[in-house]
């Protein structure tokens, strides 16, 4: 996008990047804030439907569309109470820590092919890492509130999130392993084509590990049945017992933000990201542009690509919404687990399952066993990166000079190549990985 400002509109470099960055920020904050509005409304409607009620019906027309907005106004108008025993500085800052972490993780989350605020080579990792920081807001809130219930909530959250990060990381590594890259854009693009290309259908182990991932994701964003940090029947409201008004709503937004984040991550890692089940977006967009421009699609440059991307974005959002909806469905159906059962679930079931699936997927991949795509063959996305391929290339490019140089310590495991073939490969990546 910065390139567009710089080259097409002839902005100065600094302004181009600044404007691009601002646009990204504004867009993402809308995803989080407006997303939270929609999700809260959705949660009410879904819980209402699940519980034989209607949910909100009046504010803003027939379906209570504006209920959340009305609540937001109420929350803003509420008194912001700070308990006498609170550690004032930490108490005030904690909601923002939570929210900022949830928000920051969106920086590396692509919404469509290349539609990402910041291309990161290690995006998967970054998203997980930043999401993990959300727990600090909770811990600080729990400690700073000066309430025992809050402290209990914070201790539970700390124990829970730290343990669930282990299986979550293992689950995420599997798609990374299959694709050979940590770049979310590349992972998404690799799954283009028929839905058989989606990684969840790659092999039985990726199918199994998706469920482990989803369980751990629900646990790590603190949703029922793992919402122990705010278990209202035990801990009143857990870590946010003492919060009111806007600060409280920041926790709420952070929760919904990270809910969508993990669902979106699941969509990219397992469900083809912005690729629909059938590869119709690109041809459809081209045809559409062709019709509108009377067959001059070529001359309209990237318009058809843009349209296809837009459809992809809608696709991605839909998948994310489905994930969030499932989380809500679970929440309104199941009772809550006990803290020791939550830990047992993690250590006894999730970690071993994730480990087995990881090994299995690796085995499957290395032995070239049939993937889901082989059953209903369709061209995989062409973009590949990855050390598997790089290593192959290096292995084939063995030169005598390199092997002569095998170091004397005898620890060299791979023969050495002397030419600089790698550079091309990397610069090819640069197009893909350039700043947005």
């Amino acid at each position: 996008m910065a390139d567009f400002f710089e080259h097409t509109l002839h902005f100065p470099v600094w302004l181009a990047y600044l404007v691009a960055a601002l646009i990204h920020c504004v867009l993402i904050i809308h995803v989080v804030a407006v997303g939270a509005l929609i999700f809260i409304w959705m949660e009410r409607k879904i819980s209402g439907r699940i519980q034989d009620r209607l949910g909100p019906t009046r504010v803003g027309g027939a379906f209570g569309w504006l209920q959340t907005l009305a609540d937001g106004i109420k929350l803003i108008a509420k008194e912001d109470i700070t308990p006498g025993d609170a550690d004032v500085m930490l108490f005030k800052i904690a909601p923002y820590v939570s929210f900022a972490a949830s928000f920051c993780a969106y920086i590396a989350l692509p919404f469509s092919d290349g539609w990402v605020a910041q291309h990161l080579n290690s995006a998967v990792f970054f998203v997980l890492a930043v999401l993990g920081l959300e727990v600090f807001g909770v811990i600080l809130a729990g400690y700073a509130s000066g309430s025992k219930w809050s402290l209990f909530g914070a201790m539970r959250e700390a124990a829970q999130v730290v343990s669930y990060e282990v299986p979550l990381g293992m689950c995420v590594v599997v798609p990374v392993f299959v694709c050979g890259t940590m770049n979310l854009v590349t992972i998404g693009n690799m799954q283009s084509g028929l839905f058989t290309n989606w990684l969840i259908f790659n092999d039985p182990f990726t199918f199994a590990i998706f469920w482990v991932y989803f369980t751990c994701a629900v646990a790590s964003v603190n949703r029922a049945p793992f919402d122990l940090a705010e278990a209202e029947s035990e801990l009143v409201a857990g870590f946010h017992t003492e919060y009111s008004g806007l600060r409280w709503s920041f926790f709420f937004m952070a929760e919904y933000g990270s809910m969508f984040l993990v669902s979106g991550l699941a969509a990219i890692l397992f469900f083809g990201g912005w690729n629909g089940p059938f590869p119709i977006a690109e041809p459809l967009a081209t045809t559409l542009v062709n019709v509108v421009t009377l067959g001059n699609a070529e001359s309209w440059g990237g318009l058809s690509t843009y349209l296809a991307n837009l459809m992809g974005c809608v696709n991605f959002l839909l998948k994310g919404f489905v994930g969030v909806t499932v989380m809500m469905w679970i929440r309104w159906t199941l009772p809550r687990l006990r803290i020791d059962q939550v830990m047992t679930t993690c250590l006894k079931y999730c970690v071993p399952l994730a480990a087995v699936c990881f090994l299995g997927a690796m085995f499957w991949q290395l032995n070239g066993m049939p993937t889901g795509n082989d059953l209903m063959g369709f061209q995989r996305g062409l973009q590949t990166e990855g050390w598997v391929e790089t290593a192959d290339r290096e292995a084939t490019a063995v030169t005598p000079a390199g092997s002569a140089d095998l170091s004397a310590d005898g620890e060299s495991l791979v023969p050495v190549a002397a030419d600089r073939s790698d550079g091309d490969h990397l610069s090819g990546l640069a197009e893909n990985g350039g700043a947005g």
Binding site: S47, F152, E234, T333
Partner: protein, 401 residues
């Protein structure tokens, strides 16, 4: 938790934290009203629980010394406000016992209908609120959906939805309106299949079983020692129900009715074949059994109401005309316990010959059931406390009176 090893000087322990005194309640989402539990916790483990009650104390017994028995009926409504009909019934029977007042056959059947419908309504709340305690919201609303229909029926009969004062010493305040019986029968037909939904939502839910099976285990001896009654007692496998085993003045109501007392005998519940099997983790006397007994009692009550409807429509006599407001009570005293939804609700009436009783006493079932909390919760986790207290299904209005 300290664990004794062979060498008494060596104590193994987890990470040691400091003991905390935590107040659960009186304003807490899971203490069912204004119950206050003082917990001594070591991390998540609760080493000691002390219930504090009395936040809803209204001196109902003292008020009873200043009102005639019929005037006191509304105060019984406010004891177990989730089963007001059954409270009315207990008090009315007690007064009638002292007066030696005999009711017509029809009035008795009417009382069975009303009392058992009240039991269904009350158990529905107990079931739904227990779901809430364990963090499951939806069963509560499913339960209330059906309870509302019962309340609609009650409202038709007496005009009130919570504090009915319908059953009064001498009979009932009014006869049932026309068509009521048919609507009631329709409700039962519609309601009975729904019980299976509740089983699917809670009773057989894996997480629910994990949370309740083997938690808060109470042996039959302990239950009797603590004076626990009702589903709490029967959940421990004691086959005791005042509708069958009570004194004649009460059991005559149920003469000729076919119903079973729900308690596990030799590893089986009556109706075992129709309803979910007991999970293998469940121990007799744990929270799961107490919950399950309530669920099965609802089915029994449905059966009872059906029979009562049939018999009421053909019975002779009137619906029972209430005694006069100023009827003089004979000198003497009477104590009568009835099987209310939460256990045995006893009323004690001492009269010196005036229209106003000398002393009125309400023996509350929840009061006794709650007194066991301290023993049941020792050494459990914080999350188990709502599970245990919820399975006792206490109503503070009845405890504090």
């Amino acid at each position: 938790m300290p664990l004794e090893l062979e060498d008494p000087r060596v104590i193994e322990f987890d990470v040691r934290t400091d003991e905390m005194l935590v107040n659960m309640g009186p304003q807490h989402p899971s203490t069912h009203g204004v119950l206050r539990l003082v917990l001594r916790t070591d991390g998540e483990v609760v080493s000691e629980v002390e219930p504090h009650i009395g936040y809803l104390h209204r001196c109902a017994e003292k008020i009873g010394e200043n009102l005639t028995p019929r005037q006191w009926v509304p105060y019984t409504d406010r004891m177990d406000y989730l089963a007001g009909m059954n409270m009315n019934l207990g008090w009315s029977l007690c007064v009638e016992k002292l007066l030696d007042h005999q009711l017509s056959e029809k009035a008795l059947h009417l009382r069975v209908i009303i009392a058992e419908m009240g039991r269904i309504a009350s158990h529905l709340v107990g079931m739904g609120a227990y779901g809430l305690d364990l963090g499951s919201f939806s069963p509560f609303l499913y339960a209330f959906r059906e309870r509302e229909k019962i309340l609609d029926l009650f409202e038709e009969a007496c005009g009130a939805r919570l504090t009915y004062s319908y059953i009064t010493p001498g009979g009932c305040t009014a006869d049932l309106p026309s068509g009521w019986l048919q609507r009631c029968a329709d409700f039962l037909d519609q309601f009975e299949p729904i019980i299976q939904e509740y089983h699917a939502l809670l009773t057989t839910n894996a997480i629910f079983i994990k949370r309740t099976a083997g938690i808060g285990v109470m042996s039959p001896e302990m239950a009797i020692q603590y004076g626990c009654t009702g589903p709490v007692l029967r959940g421990s496998g004691v086959d005791y129900d005042l509708r069958r085993d009570g004194e004649a003045r009460y059991t005559e109501m149920y003469d000729g009715y076919a119903f079973e007392v729900i308690s596990e005998q030799n590893g089986h519940y009556p109706k075992d074949h129709d309803y979910p099997a007991v999970p293998k983790d469940a121990v007799l006397g744990d929270c799961w059994h107490r919950f399950y007994v309530r669920m099965l009692e609802v089915v029994q009550s449905v059966d009872l109401v059906r029979q009562a409807i049939d018999r009421y429509s053909t019975a002779s006599g009137d619906y029972g005309v209430p005694i006069k407001l100023t009827t003089k009570l004979p000198k003497g005293e009477a104590y009568l316990e009835t099987e209310a939804p939460r256990g045995q609700m006893g009323f004690y009436l001492v009269s010196d010959g005036n229209a106003i009783p000398w002393r009125v006493r309400a023996r509350s079932s929840s009061f006794c059931n709650l007194s066991v909390t301290a023993d049941l919760c020792r050494g459990c986790l914080i999350a188990d406390i709502p599970a245990v207290v919820g399975s006792l299904d206490v109503v503070m209005g009845e405890i504090d009176r």
